[in-house]
């Protein structure tokens, strides 16, 4: 996945599409940005210059799908986090999760969330839940999995057609929802894919690259200040400030 920060307006459509797709419940009473469930969130980051030269970018943040030494996988005592060798997607298995939150502590991107409350929807809204995704209960961690339900549906469709899964067979909900086409998704290993071309642009970078986690989510910006800042520094958000 490659996200073009110069195109992101911070509209929040990706955040909403993600929540609808993955049956993420609305805020419980008393929820704050620290305790909320936002598999995808958008954070505004300033470039550090003073007014009126200051500029900011909106950074969509989700699980970065680390490649090597995936921190959350290695710390989970329950094997509730798995690395899919075929797709490179880091998946969460909520029913195995004990709620120890080691993974949340280990994740350098603060992209994991904990269910502090049982999920609740206003009366009748359970009819609008996505049938391809199970709901989770209080006490388990969860995170973005590139819309696993869509991947499974695409696999089933491909299998029904007796053909292998093609990279264009599915797109995560955030990619589909982005009005400005700021998010590109596909097979990074396919040199002919659009996402590969975008990822090889000199404007492309990864968050906290020096940690060596090899995120498969790449960002791009024409602004050198933005690239420099986000490559080296953590994206500041209220959640991060609390979790350290």
């Amino acid at each position: 996945m490659v996200i073009d920060l110069d195109r992101c307006t911070g509209c929040g459509a990706c955040v909403i599409a993600c929540a609808v797709e993955n049956n993420v419940p609305p805020a419980h009473e008393g929820t704050t940005p620290r305790t909320g469930l936002t598999w995808m969130r958008v954070v505004r980051v300033d470039d550090g210059r003073s007014f009126p030269d200051t500029r900011s970018v909106f950074v969509p943040l989700m699980c970065q799908q680390c490649d090597h030494h995936t921190p959350c996988v290695s710390v989970c005592p329950q094997n509730a986090v798995e690395y899919d060798e075929e797709t490179g997607i880091v998946t969460q298995v909520p029913v195995r999760c004990l709620g120890c939150r080691y993974c949340m502590t280990a994740c350098p991107y603060h992209a994991r969330y904990f269910n502090w409350w049982d999920p609740e929807w206003p009366a009748g809204m359970e009819q609008t839940l996505n049938p391809d995704v199970s709901t989770r209960m209080r006490g388990v961690a969860e995170k973005c999995n590139f819309c696993h339900g869509r991947l499974q549906a695409a696999r089933a469709k491909a299998a029904a057609g007796s053909r292998p899964l093609a990279p264009d067979d599915y797109q995560p909900a955030c990619v589909e929802a982005c009005p400005t086409e700021a998010i590109v998704f596909g097979d990074l290993n396919d040199p002919r894919s659009t996402v590969s071309a975008a990822a090889s642009s000199p404007d492309t970078f990864r968050l906290l690259e020096h940690l060596g986690t090899g995120p498969k989510v790449r960002y791009r910006s024409r602004s050198a200040a933005v690239r420099e800042s986000l490559t080296r520094n953590s994206v500041s958000s209220e959640k991060e400030q609390v979790h350290g």
Binding site: D6, V42, W121, T128, L129, P131, V133, T135, M137, P179
Partner: protein, 701 residues
């Protein structure tokens, strides 16, 4: 051999047994099974699984007319997405639109007629009582002025025609509309032309240069397609230049090629200075000069205004103004737009700049909007503010479609003291300052057939149908059913009116029709008749007007009667204004133009992520906060015109130093704004940390 078992042996055996058990899979299996068991409590909602179906429709939450792809399970929609290739939205939906199917389960949903007393107490009401109250007002009316105002929140719908017909049937009733964003601008445009001209829309899609005075081009709902037009660059459509002139670094300013921070309240001076630079640089096009009746008078007027002292207050350099003037003159596909909420002097100055730059009747400029065949003409309808004070016994508000808010104070001003009532046809009854006594439950998106008349980023008009995609709640009304209950007569259904409109489109043979099954755009005349058109629209298609001839500019005046005096007065006020301690700018929450249509899951971008500043908060630059000794999250009171309101202080580096940005919405700030008519002086007093008072001057942005 001693075979007795010692105490030590027992302990060894027990210890070894425990160790062995721990090393076996058993405890982990127990943990795993118990985890699975504890995560399947019966009270955790499970999705309803059933056959998956797909359908296409149109979003009717605002007037953008975006195409929607609906995924349903067991006959109930579970997710929405944009229709790729839809001419109005090009596959986009905004955050609000993505949640349209959740509105049916909104906690504020009304499912039976209710009576609201003391602003908050709700009790079930009898429909017959409400109808009797309306009839009593109708029959008791004796004066020449209307006693019943029927206010249409979204003119141009099929329902609008029914509301107008009610007003025609009852002599005591009159049709009115909620304040329309573009209407004030249309009225101003018409003053410049001697002949009748239609409404105009900015052709953003074909513009190569857009100079925006605070227009929220990518902020909030209804702007998804515009955002795509401005930012999704392709080889066929390179990104247009966007110059955003705005005090606060809004989302639009953030993605603009150039953001020019301007002192709030001086935008009109900036626009006039650019116009003067075009004229004095001899850059006015000969075609414009030829159609203008008073080009020389305009040059003299601008010269006499003595703009330089006022321009210095804008905070914009002369070089920058010259550069914008040069760009506007050199780029044929350019347009100047202003925020719909901008005050009249800004709207007037921006129109004047458009006339000087020659953007009217041009592709990529301001293009005339044709009328929708068969639609009721509502452009000349009055607003609630146009009715006589204290003359109305009943105000019927059709809020079944989201529209512009009417300031709460206007209701009290127009109703008869003590006896007047307000009846709202609305799906929701969220607490709001409007004095509504009765709410009649209305259907929400996806429950009943309704129509959407939209305008695309290219300035083209369209008609789409929002189809029923879920079962309607039995006791809800659409406008036709509500009016039928009020009048006791059989009203034509929405479908009947819409079929008449489609027949008018067919007979005009004008425009193109988008067919989502192909998906292609085909001319109207390629269809077999009204039924074929109706069928395509029902399947999620839309009618869109065809390419319009560029048209020639009719004769016009730069300075219609009264404009020179108005602008002179405002420029003089800018020159004379003393610099306030801090300028207060009230901005609107871009996702909450109508609070009631805010679905529950919007908490993701508000409470759970802080992506949008909450209503009832004021934002200041960190250096301003430090200078005035206030901190993030401080509780404070905002006082304007004697009204004191609780607010929270947020530090935001996108607000320039010297400004206080207050977020408008359903919160306390909206209450204050409804009582503000012009520039006002007030203060923000922090009570949390060290007590401090920040004097502010309000500039309505």
């Amino acid at each position: 051999m001693n075979s007795s078992i010692s105490r030590r042996d027992l302990l060894r055996f027990a210890g070894g047994g425990v160790l062995g058990l721990l090393l076996s899979p058993l405890p982990w299996k127990v943990l795993d099974d118990s985890a699975i068991w504890t995560q399947n409590w019966p009270w955790i909602p499970e999705p309803s699984r059933g056959p998956i179906t797909w359908s296409a429709s149109t979003c009717s939450l605002c007037g953008a007319g975006c195409g929607v792809r609906v995924r349903s399970s067991n006959g109930h929609p579970v997710s929405l997405a944009g229709q790729a290739g839809h001419p109005m939205s090009a596959g986009t939906l905004c955050a609000t639109g993505l949640l349209a199917h959740h509105l049916a389960c909104h906690p504020s949903r009304v499912l039976q007629p209710i009576r609201i007393t003391n602003g908050t107490e709700r009790t079930a009401a009898d429909m017959a009582t409400i109808v009797a109250a309306i009839h009593a007002a109708h029959s008791a009316s004796t004066s020449a002025s209307p006693a019943i105002a029927v206010i249409d929140s979204r003119p141009g719908r099929a329902a609008s025609r029914l509301l107008m017909e009610l007003a025609h049937q009852w002599p005591s009733a009159a049709y009115g509309v909620a304040p329309q964003a573009g209407r004030a601008r249309t009225d101003l445009i018409r003053k410049h032309f001697r002949t009748a001209v239609p409404e105009f829309a900015a052709d953003i899609q074909h513009a190569r240069l857009i100079v925006s005075f605070g227009a929220p081009l990518v902020d909030g709902w209804g702007t998804a397609a515009t955002a795509r037009t401005l930012l999704a660059e392709t080889s066929a459509h390179p990104r247009p230049r966007l110059i955003q002139i705005e005090p606060v670094r809004s989302r639009t300013a953030n993605v603009a090629e150039t953001w020019i921070p301007v002192t709030p309240g001086t935008e009109h001076v900036c626009a006039l200075a650019i116009a003067q630079a075009i004229i004095e640089g001899r850059r006015m096009k000969s075609a414009v000069r030829a159609r203008a009746e008073d080009a020389a008078a305009l040059a003299a007027f601008l010269h006499d205004l003595d703009l330089p002292p006022a321009v210095r207050r804008c905070g914009i350099s002369d070089a920058r103004i010259l550069e914008i003037a040069r760009s506007l003159s050199d780029e044929p596909a350019s347009v100047v737009v202003a925020s719909p909420a901008a005050p009249e002097e800004v709207q007037s100055a921006v129109l004047l700049l458009n006339l000087v730059a020659g953007t009217f009747f041009r592709e990529g400029g301001l293009r005339p909007l044709p009328e929708i065949p068969g639609a009721a003409r509502t452009t000349d309808a009055r607003t609630l503010e146009d009715f006589d004070d204290h003359s109305l016994s009943v105000i019927i508000l059709d809020e079944s479609a989201a529209g512009a808010d009417i300031p709460a104070a206007v209701f009290g001003q127009k109703l008869k003291p003590g006896s007047g009532i307000v009846v709202s046809l609305s799906p929701f009854a969220a607490p709001r300052p409007v004095p509504i006594q009765y709410v009649i439950p209305a259907a929400v998106w996806g429950e009943r057939l309704t129509d959407v008349a939209g305008t695309s980023p290219a300035g083209e008009i369209s008609v789409g149908l929002a189809m029923p995609v879920m079962p309607a709640r039995p006791d809800t009304f659409d406008t036709a059913a509500f009016l039928g209950a009020v009048t006791g007569t059989s009203q034509p259904s929405t479908e009947e009116i819409l079929r008449q409109r489609i027949a008018a489109i067919w007979s005009g043979r004008r425009g193109m029709v988008y067919d989502p099954s192909s998906p292609t755009l085909r001319p109207v005349h390629a269809f077999g008749g009204t039924d074929a058109l109706w069928s395509v629209l029902q399947s999620g298609g839309c009618w869109i007007d065809g390419p319009r001839p560029a048209g020639s500019m009719p004769a016009f005046r730069f300075l219609p009667a009264g404009l020179a005096e108005h602008l002179t007065k405002r420029v003089a006020a800018t020159k004379a204004a003393t610099a306030p301690a801090l300028a207060l700018v009230i901005t609107s929450d871009p996702l909450r133009r109508d609070q009631a249509f805010d679905a529950t899951l919007m908490s993701k971008v508000r409470d759970e992520s802080g992506l949008y500043l909450p209503c009832g908060s004021v934002a200041i630059h960190p250096t301003t906060a430090e200078a005035h000794n206030v901190g993030v999250g401080d509780d404070a009171t905002l006082s304007i015109n004697g009204t004191t309101l609780p607010v929270h202080i947020a530090c935001d580096s996108s607000v320039p130093p010297g400004l206080v940005s207050a977020m408008d919405g359903d919160g306390p700030v909206a209450l204050a704004q409804s009582k503000i008519s012009d520039r006002s002086v007030g203060s923000v007093a922090s009570a949390t940390s060290a007590p401090s008072v920040i004097p502010v001057t309000l500039w309505k942005a």
